[in-house]
Symmetry: C2
Subunit: 477 residues, 2 copies
Amino acid sequence: MAQDKKLVEAITSMEEDFAQWYTDVVKKAELIEYSSIRGCMILRPLGYAIWENIQKQLDADFKATGVENVYMPMFIPESLLQKEKDHVEGFAPEVAWVTHGGGEALQERMCVRPTSETLFCDFYSKIIQSHRDLPKLYNQWCSVVRWEKTTRPFLRSMEFLWQEGHTAHATAEEAEERTIQMLNVYADFCERVLAIPMIKGRKSEKEKFAGAHATYTIEALMHDGKALQSGTSHNFGDGFARAFGIQYTDKNNTLQYVHQTSWGMSTRIIGAIIMVHGDDSGLVLPPRIAPTQIMIIPINQNKEGVLDKAFELRDKLSAFKVKVDASEKSPGWKFSEQEMRGIPIRIEIGPKDIEANQAVIVRRDTREKIVVSLDQIVEKAGEVLETMQQDMLNRARAHRDSHTYSATNMDEFTKIIEEKPGFIKAMWCQDEACEKEIKDRTGATSRCMPFEQEHIADTCVCCGKPATTMAYWGKAY
Amino acid sequence: MAQDKKLVEAITSMEEDFAQWYTDVVKKAELIEYSSIRGCMILRPLGYAIWENIQKQLDADFKATGVENVYMPMFIPESLLQKEKDHVEGFAPEVAWVTHGGGEALQERMCVRPTSETLFCDFYSKIIQSHRDLPKLYNQWCSVVRWEKTTRPFLRSMEFLWQEGHTAHATAEEAEERTIQMLNVYADFCERVLAIPMIKGRKSEKEKFAGAHATYTIEALMHDGKALQSGTSHNFGDGFARAFGIQYTDKNNTLQYVHQTSWGMSTRIIGAIIMVHGDDSGLVLPPRIAPTQIMIIPINQNKEGVLDKAFELRDKLSAFKVKVDASEKSPGWKFSEQEMRGIPIRIEIGPKDIEANQAVIVRRDTREKIVVSLDQIVEKAGEVLETMQQDMLNRARAHRDSHTYSATNMDEFTKIIEEKPGFIKAMWCQDEACEKEIKDRTGATSRCMPFEQEHIADTCVCCGKPATTMAYWGKAY
Ligand SMILES: [Zn+2]
Ligand SMILES: [Zn+2]
């Protein structure tokens, strides 16, 4: 029992200190370990397995829309990075520079990719000649480096894993369509698989990607009421094409510039899974993303027949991702570990259960205990996992909705920010001065101008001039 | 027809110039594109899809042996790289150095990983305390950078994709067992999936990995008679553990050093697939690794019903990786493309075939044409793919065996090297001086001391002193 307590006591409660709770969970659930390199984390087996599951499912979603994977070099020569003016201004301050190689100083230094627009553009300028070469729908899974001052596991690190899609199209309409299509792929994936509901919308001019015409985003609300930008999709128009000379001959044999998009989702989304679903016992993983869905924990495992029965049960449940914890630890310790690691359900089975031809299913999210006949356990386990997946999404949506407020003036706005952390819906004139003033006064940033607009008032929440949009605002990670 | 010729004419024949043939194939089959970064290549969709298939199958083989995936940072601080003496001597001359980040000079420069032994050791020193923490069986899929002077697509590039497994064990025996186990996983995978037979053996002291006690290798013979090291597995003993202080308390509560291994396979293996199986029409992919296994090419596709039938056939063959080439190109052009890209079989179907309820299967490797009733096409396609896979392995083995020679003195050795490119089996005293002399005089290096030893003579092929091993020798990529 002393051991059981040790594991649990080590976590700070969410109410007491959410930031510390988060740090405790990522460490105690063994998602990551800190490395000797400032701001870089090691993804341990559980953390990486979650990313593998995200990759696998998202990659299938991409491919279903015609996307193909490629791999680009990790280095960008300085002259290439500088080709698009806004882009280099946005990224140059936060890159890592390679200046020496093979024992010699380089003639031209190269940065480690912070993102690969410039590389894809250089590539596209070589392989696109005719309208028959379009569209190009390429994606890559890789790591990128951004020299962040302060870092937090998953949320902001110097190096992180992601995917970046880069497409080239014949027309502006096609590019805009693809931009929205991929945003929808992200939002659907997050709802369906991660049980995280998303607000879809457009970023303000100030918040958009360096070099983009328009940036679209999906925004989620964490348990503590802060927002997390969870994926973005950019329409570049023909800006990069003009800078890099990416042209094709159309059907009339006229030279035209291509229109491009890019879109990315990163390991940051694992931070969202933790902060949307976790509780004071640790991680809670949605069944569809959990590397282990069921942990069978034998009770009195040294009694004859118990372990055999546990392994027999595992084989019976092989349609799920199932394991038996047959280690010499106490059942209480095993429960704590299974809970900490967010395994959706555990099945307890001991001598008395075996005698009664039953086992006990315990849901990780609600702790509900369900006694099930061993004859029906496969169907029942499937049902419980499915119900849990749906319940988690519903709970996350209910939490978000009950933490979404409206404000029509700055007094209301400030009061909400101070007293009720969450999303604030407010009208806006789209003037950057108002955006800046709101941030300076409250710490809240414009999260997005949602596709689903509502009319809250006629005037801007900040300056009182006529409003042109409703926006979501909030403090963000 | 002019177009058809263009595609084919562009390849140099293997006999004429093997190196140029290779370069032509990687470009014309659209496996890679050269990038603006010296020595770095872009993996295009076909090249990357082959790598994805390798990854998927090899990863499953790893996991079946208990291996878990993780992800380590891409940077190594200079002080960490220097902790193991032999290792830093081996790698320091060929790394890329990051000296600046976020606009400032770094206090300590960091290299981009050329391999990650030092990072794993640092990690293991933090997470291994007790015998209960062992073994650790971790692997990562990532890219690494080595500052090569001359580069060739897949075979030697500055940045390449690979996997690196790193394990830690309680005993020397367990580490040696794991080293051999993973070498066998590689060899089995190459035979079974890539249809490439491998010679398994131990590297000489001179050729072993920087910091290893012993390096094991799998060696393949290319079509031109040159060898290609295709995967390696290293036993580190406790050398790294002592340098990094990786200790555990055993069951008697005594501190012990762990014993470690590492093992890797890279995109280099794609070079082997090209050079073992390719021909003058381009790539030939073994069915088990081909991203597209069957290309259906409609004949007279503008005639009513032909395209419908082609797509109907595709749906029927959905158990395979199948596509229809419904583009407006001529059938001859489509044949050339399918052959260049190494798609194992094509199915030709035109109005006359449809009338006769049949189609024509054409094997990529032998060009054999097989007329098949549409009622039996699913079974037949499966059979042809399976037969082709086996035939490719048999052909590769026959080629290797017929290009493997024995030499008992340097005259024979030199004559073989000059006249008959291939493997040379020869006895060796294991003195590095002989190894060096053989290399200086013939250009051949010791490939490995094979597990399957043969007694060819009593004395070293070079110095005539008593031999202690039989080794494979050859010119290598
Ligand atoms: Zn305003
Ligand atoms: Zn000798």
